[in-house]
């Protein structure tokens, strides 16, 4: 009898301890990571990238026998197009993420998102400036590769402060960037896969897991 009572209280305690552990894990996650990144905005960014790539491929890239030069109009337009895609992706990402954060009752601007943004932007801006310097001295052969690698490192760095598996997207982008460097001449296609395909795949994973109505 005594042993029965003891066992049942022990069982109850054990259940409480399991709850304690899951509460600890939950609070550690919620207090240090921003979990409302929008998957839909990833899908949209991928679609913008592919649309931009199609426009560039048919209208801006040099025809057979022509060369792309840094001071040509087509080159400038390509840069404008790239910046446009980036801006559109950022605005979409911001709006959809704010919406998701509101729904999840998560703050959009606090210590965690500040850390997230800082850790994301340092590698990204470094890469951006580096690429611009290289372009200015006519070294544009590695642009796609550098974009993929620096973007991948930015994601990897930021993944500590958000949904953990952003890390894998980052690693995939880095890997793609390295392959791109090893296979000169295919930069455009690697860019399309990295910024279009991977965004759509990864965005869909989050979307179908968390956001589907």
């Amino acid at each position: 009898m005594i042993s029965f009572v003891f066992q049942s209280t022990f069982k109850m305690d054990s259940k409480k301890y399991i709850e304690d552990i899951s509460e600890i894990k939950d609070l550690m996650r919620r207090s240090s990571r921003f979990l409302s990144l929008s998957g839909l905005s990833g899908i949209m960014a991928g679609i913008y990238a592919i649309t931009g790539a199609v426009v560039a491929y048919f209208f801006l890239f040099p025809q057979k026998g022509e060369y792309l030069t840094v001071h040509s109009w087509n080159f400038r337009l390509t840069i404008v197009l790239l910046l446009g895609i980036a801006a559109l992706s950022i605005v979409t990402g911001y709006l959809l993420t704010v919406k998701k954060a509101k729904k999840n009752n998560e703050k959009i601007w606090d210590a965690t998102t500040r850390q997230l943004l800082f850790n994301f932007l340092v590698p990204l801006v470094t890469g951006g400036i580096y690429i611009l310097i290289k372009l200015n001295s006519q070294h544009y052969g590695l642009t796609a590769s550098l974009m993929l690698i620096f973007y991948g490192m930015a994601l990897l760095n930021a993944s500590k402060y958000t949904i953990g598996n952003v890390k894998y997207l980052g690693l995939a982008e880095i890997l793609l960037g390295l392959l791109c460097a090893a296979l000169p001449g295919y930069g455009f296609w690697f860019w399309v896969v990295g910024f279009g395909g991977l965004h759509i795949v990864y965005g869909s994973l989050i979307y179908f897991k968390e956001e589907r109505p």
């Binding site: 022990f10 301890y17 552990i21 609070l27 550690m28 207090s31």
Partner: protein
């Protein structure tokens, strides 16, 4: 038994356990953020942070942001060690069942 020995009475409370969990993964956290994450009232939170402070498991830093008073909390070294021991004890208890 022996197993129960490492269970720390101070952490054997949902709110204190919560405060400590948050401070383990954040360098420092202010009062309002704790309140938000734990969904507790001011008075309730204050009394539990006091208990942890008295045990020297957390440090309190008061300052002003403009004219608003701001209270920041951080875990002390001994607090971190004690909390790790407590988690180990919990895990042992669960796995030994």
């Amino acid at each position: 038994m022996g197993l129960i020995d490492n269970i720390n009475k101070i952490f054997d409370h949902r709110i204190r356990l919560g405060i400590m969990s948050i401070l383990m993964v954040n360098e420092f956290v202010d009062f309002n953020r704790l309140k938000e994450l734990l969904e507790v009232t001011d008075g309730n939170l204050a009394s539990h942070t006091k208990t942890l402070e008295n045990a020297e498991y957390i440090k309190i830093e008061k300052s002003f942001i403009g004219r608003k008073p701001n209270t920041k909390y951080s875990a002390t070294k001994s607090g971190r060690i004690a909390f790790k021991k407590h988690i180990e004890a919990l895990e042992n208890l669960i796995s030994k069942k």
